[in-house]
Symmetry: C2
Subunit: 239 residues, 2 copies
């Protein structure tokens, strides 16, 4: 980003990640950060607010801003924030690949509207993909995209990254994402396209994505093999 507060946030975050500010120590107080970054008090506060919401620090009144982040050894595929499949795979250092199995236009009937949250009559793009890691099919995505906001989307693009296409080519910005995690039985369809070994249940992430216009543009159900699934979240009281 190009805003001051976000650059300060990134700088502080990186210093925590690389251990410059360590777990259970205080970062410099506002008064010093003002001089360090040559900005106002409120801008520092905004940066620290973002740090807090990401679980890196916890401000303590009268004392200081404490680092509560500890670098963790997370072996598996970790979700968090809003990031694309490709980004998440790269961050976890995995060789990833995507296969598009279904690519068709549909019109939402009442049942589909109820299921996805779209309106009855919306023209949708129905997409089913399988995500492979090191050649193993571990994730199955069933997606519905609002067709009107994804012109020119092809199966080939879908096998790369729909988000990258939306943000890069179409100039769209993804903003808010509501996610729900549940656990479901694996179906015969799951078994047909995924390498499930003897697992009979899957971690299911249902995702409703809104663009900068506040329009719900995507509803995706991601079905993950349990041994490669981790979902991380930070909650802050009062926020």
């Amino acid at each position: 980003m190009r805003t001051i507060y976000y650059e300060i946030y990134e700088d502080l975050r990186d210093k925590i990640l690389e251990g410059f500010y360590r777990y259970q120590t205080y970062i410099p107080p506002e008064s010093q950060l003002i001089h360090l970054y040559q900005c106002s008090h409120n801008t520092i506060r905004k940066s620290i607010s973002v740090l807090m919401l990401h679980g890196f620090v916890q401000p303590i009144r009268g004392k200081g801003v404490l680092v509560i982040y500890r670098p963790e050894r997370r072996a598996n595929f970790v979700l968090g924030d809003i990031e694309t499949f490709k980004e998440a795979a790269a961050r976890n250092g995995l060789e990833a690949q995507t296969q598009a199995l279904v690519f068709e236009h549909v019109v939402a009937d009442e049942a589909l509207a109820e299921l996805t949250g779209f309106m009855t009559g919306d023209e949708l793009l129905h997409l089913e993909r399988v995500r492979l890691f090191e050649g193993k099919a571990l994730i199955r995505d069933k997606s519905y995209f609002l067709a009107s906001v994804f012109p020119g989307l092809t199966p080939r693009i879908a096998e790369d990254s729909v988000y990258a296409y939306a943000e890069g080519v179409l100039g769209m910005r993804i903003v808010t994402s509501n996610r729900t995690v549940t656990v479901d039985y694996a179906t015969a369809d799951d078994r047909a396209v995924m390498d499930l070994l003897d697992f009979n249940m899957l971690a299911v992430v249902t995702n409703h994505t809104f663009n900068e216009q506040g329009v719900m543009i995507e509803c995706t159900q991601s079905r993950h093999r349990p041994d490669f699934f981790t979902f991380h979240d930070t909650a802050v009281r009062g926020y």
Copy 2:
């Protein structure tokens, strides 16, 4: 809370929840809210920031603040924010009960420290509880509390609410909570104390809680029967 921005947040949130401000409509602009609530524009902005982080609205520059929350029919046990087991049960309208199975003091050895994130040598309170809904044992909690900050904790209190005890009696405030959701095999121990039917896997939520002092005071692993488990989360780009 007694702060202005939080009261405004609650008022706006309630008006969204009761349908006064509806899905895909705009709430009044800052300029009007300033007059409505008799406060400064920054205070309004703070309130709206909290609304956004909770997934109720999405501000759109040049247009307004759009409501993107839709009342959902969530049948099961929904996690989200920081709330106690009792609060969540009540909110979901379920008859809930807790049984304490294990209640003992332990000292963290190296293995336990690695597992929980506490320091080697910390005095901990090891607690195992089973949560019952309508008489069925659906959740199993394995918790470690930092003993020094929970003086006077008894099995009886643990069967009520440890958080209520901490906040009410001890005057502590729970602030930040890092949670990780995974899916694991049910163990023989799980089967012994839970009503698992024929489920062989569980949704596992691992929780690290910090108090207002930035001290990690609790590490809990909650093991949920899949058919009664839902985890909800809202992510906002750039926050």
